[in-house]
């Protein structure tokens, strides 16, 4: 009898050991998405990064994802579940997942977390984001040249620093090439609601906007612009090339793959440390989609020159002299904005009308 027990215990031990060994071979990487993978924008690009990860590491890595996770209390449950399922590294890919990520990370000190676009870090929580505002500078330049009504519509998602930076950067550069330009800003209070985004685009077009910039994730504003005719748009987060050459004349493309691969590698090698990565055009995290022929050649040239200057670090999109909306001085002549101010940006620059909602 005793022999049987010993044998059984031995078998159980062996089994447990085998499972552990298998589990150690594979690094499990989890992704929490705010929208569906098929949104054609923000979440789609994160998922492309996930697929690139599988391509790169093959059998060494196992990826899991959960899409359509609402920002808020439910996010904490989703992240916890992913950590419980044995993920070694979890990317939470929306600003609203910031506090839930920190909360879950406290409970799972051995799991590494990476939160996109936030600013709170911990020993096992790193943050990463892309300098989208660099791309916005290029967009603003093109928009300023293209608009004939001098009204540029801007669909904002939530009034958070990331979005406000984009508005300011686009406005500064549109104003530079077209002093009469005016921005009309609509807050959709959603990252993803195609019907609402389409309505927002229509409202802006009806009020005279002939260029629409969006900081929401779906292609609905592109479709609305196409229907309206002479309205220009830019792809957001993803290339949205299916709407080229008109209305989509260019785009900002998020390229997360290199970062995801590097961070997963760090976990595999045991060299992972909490970081605060903020890369832009130069590092390749922000890409500028092809500028179509609907844009005059000289404008295209100017936009590309600006892109190159930003990429090389020669030019910073927030370079003084710049005033805040209330007229007070923000940056003196030649001064550039520091990352701290940019990360917490909660003001418009001079010339933009309207208030930022609280």
């Amino acid at each position: 009898m005793k022999l049987v027990t010993t044998l059984l215990a031995g078998a159980a031990f062996g089994l447990a050991f085998a499972t552990a060994a298998v589990a150690q071979d594979k690094t499990k990487v989890g992704f929490i998405y705010v929208g569906p993978v098929g949104d054609g924008g923000w979440t789609y690009e994160h998922d492309q990064g996930r697929l690139a990860l599988e391509e790169e590491f093959g059998d060494m890595v196992e990826t899991v994802y959960q899409e359509n996770v609402p920002e808020g209390a439910d996010a904490e449950r989703a992240i916890t579940q992913m950590a419980l399922s044995g993920a070694d590294l979890i990317f939470t890919t929306s600003f609203g997942f910031m506090d839930p990520t920190i909360a879950v990370a406290e409970k799972f000190p051995d799991v590494k977390f990476e939160h996109a676009t936030g600013y709170k870090t911990a020993d096992n929580v790193g943050v990463y984001s892309a300098r989208f505002y660099e791309g916005r500078a290029v967009q603003g330049t093109i928009a300023g040249h293209l608009t004939e009504s001098n009204i540029v519509g801007y669909i904002g998602s939530f009034p958070i620093p990331e979005v406000i930076r984009g508005i300011n950067s686009a406005y500064i550069h549109a104003k530079k090439v077209n002093p009469d330009v005016q921005f009309k800003i609509v807050w959709a209070y959603t990252w993803f609601d195609p019907a609402k985004e389409a309505d927002a685009a229509k409202a802006l077009i009806e009020q005279g906007a002939d260029v629409i910039l969006q900081h929401t994730d779906s292609t609905a504003p592109q479709a609305a612009a196409q229907e309206a005719g002479n309205v220009y748009t830019f792809g957001q987060a993803s290339d949205m090339i299916e709407y080229a050459p008109m209305p989509r004349v260019s785009s900002i493309i998020d390229n997360w793959a290199p970062y995801y691969i590097a961070r997963t590698k760090a976990v595999m090698d045991g060299t992972w440390e909490s970081d605060n990565t903020w890369d832009g055009i130069g590092a390749g995290m922000v890409g500028i989609g092809e500028i179509t022929d609907a844009v005059p050649a000289e404008v295209k040239e100017e936009a590309l020159a600006l892109k190159d200057a930003i990429a090389s670090g020669e030019y910073h999109p927030f370079t003084g002299p710049l005033n805040k909306q209330d007229g007070s001085t923000w940056l003196a002549e030649g001064e550039t904005a520091d990352d701290g101010t940019l990360a917490g940006m909660d003001f418009y620059v001079e010339g933009i009308e309207g208030d930022i909602p609280n």
Binding site: P36, V186, F192, K196, E206
Partner: protein
């Protein structure tokens, strides 16, 4: 703030377009509830209609074909609900919620190949003569055909429920299914028909989102419109013309708040966004003070001939 930049003609016209999906879905749900059945699966049927309508529209190049098949798809999905609740006598609330989840999953499965594709056009129909009237013309008579169809269906449902024998039987089944059964009416047959109609209307509403309003297929694109449709039925206290009013109010608020923002209004958008729901609650309070809540007597109750 510059209200001058809001053009009332364009505002009302786009309000009608924004409201059409919820109008169609709410009208269908009202008929279902009038027959005494509570189907919470509207969102699931809408999104299924949206993806099927879009797929057929893209493949045939005809939006009309898309609408027709979307209605069939919505009705087919609703039949699952009908069989489970009417034949197998399951709980309607739970089944309806299940139908929504099922529809959301099914639609993203069907929709995978259609992400990023463009919808076939759906030309606007300027009604000759009427569309030339100043103000009224551009507001009411320069829409795509589905807007007119939706209003015609409101009138049709109203006529059917108020003036015909069939409408009377439907209401009798909804008010008291035991009495209706005792009188020899086929309670289940009537309810199956009502549920199918509700499904077809939800499918049409969904297809309107994917073929006209957005127009493209994106996962999860109805984004809660089905739940708003359910709220509108209560808001309207189960009456067709009030459904029209409710849908235009709910849809109108969305369009209005976006326009106000673009015009630089300082009213916080949260107030506008929540106002239709506040009004719905007020309406509920008022109708219950009056003692007649307007809800069909047998709403949500299980019917079995032996009970």
């Amino acid at each position: 703030m510059d209200f001058g930049s809001i053009n009332p003609i364009l505002l009302i016209a786009s309000l009608m377009v924004a409201s059409t999906p919820i109008l169609l879905a709410a009208l269908g749900e009202m008929v279902v509830e009038k027959a005494g059945v509570l189907n919470l699966g509207v969102e699931g049927m809408m999104i299924t209609g949206a993806v099927v309508g879009f797929a057929i529209g893209v493949n045939t190049g005809s939006s009309w074909a898309g609408f027709a098949v979307a209605a069939l798809a919505g009705a087919a999905l609703s039949m699952i609900f009908a069989i489970i609740t009417q034949v197998l006598l399951s709980n309607q609330v739970a089944t309806g919620l299940g139908l929504t989840l099922f529809g959301l999953g099914l639609s993203s499965l069907i929709g995978k190949p259609y992400v990023g594709m463009k919808a076939p056009g759906f030309a606007k129909l300027h009604i000759p003569g009427l569309s030339e009237i100043p103000f009224v013309g551009p507001v009411l008579f320069r829409h795509d055909p589905m807007v007119y169809v939706s209003i015609l269906i409101v009138a049709g449902v109203w006529y059917l429920l108020t003036f015909t024998r069939a409408g009377l039987i439907l209401r009798a089944v909804g008010e008291n299914h035991n009495a209706a059964h005792a009188l020899g009416y086929k309670v289940k047959t009537v309810r199956f028909a009502a549920i199918a109609f509700g499904g077809a209307m939800a499918g049409l509403g969904g297809a309107y989102v994917s073929l006209v309003r957005v127009p493209q297929w994106v996962e999860g694109m109805t984004a809660g419109a089905g739940w708003i449709a359910l709220a509108i039925v209560v808001f309207a206290s189960w009456r067709p013309w009030r459904i029209l009013l409710g849908a235009y109010l709910f849809g109108g608020i969305t369009v209005l708040q976006l326009n106000l923002q673009a015009a630089g209004s300082s009213i916080p958008v949260e107030y506008l966004s929540m106002s239709p729901y506040v009004i719905t609650i007020l309406v509920l309070v008022i109708i219950s003070i009056r003692g007649n809540h307007g809800a069909p007597g047998s709403l949500g109750r299980v019917f079995h001939a032996s009970h």
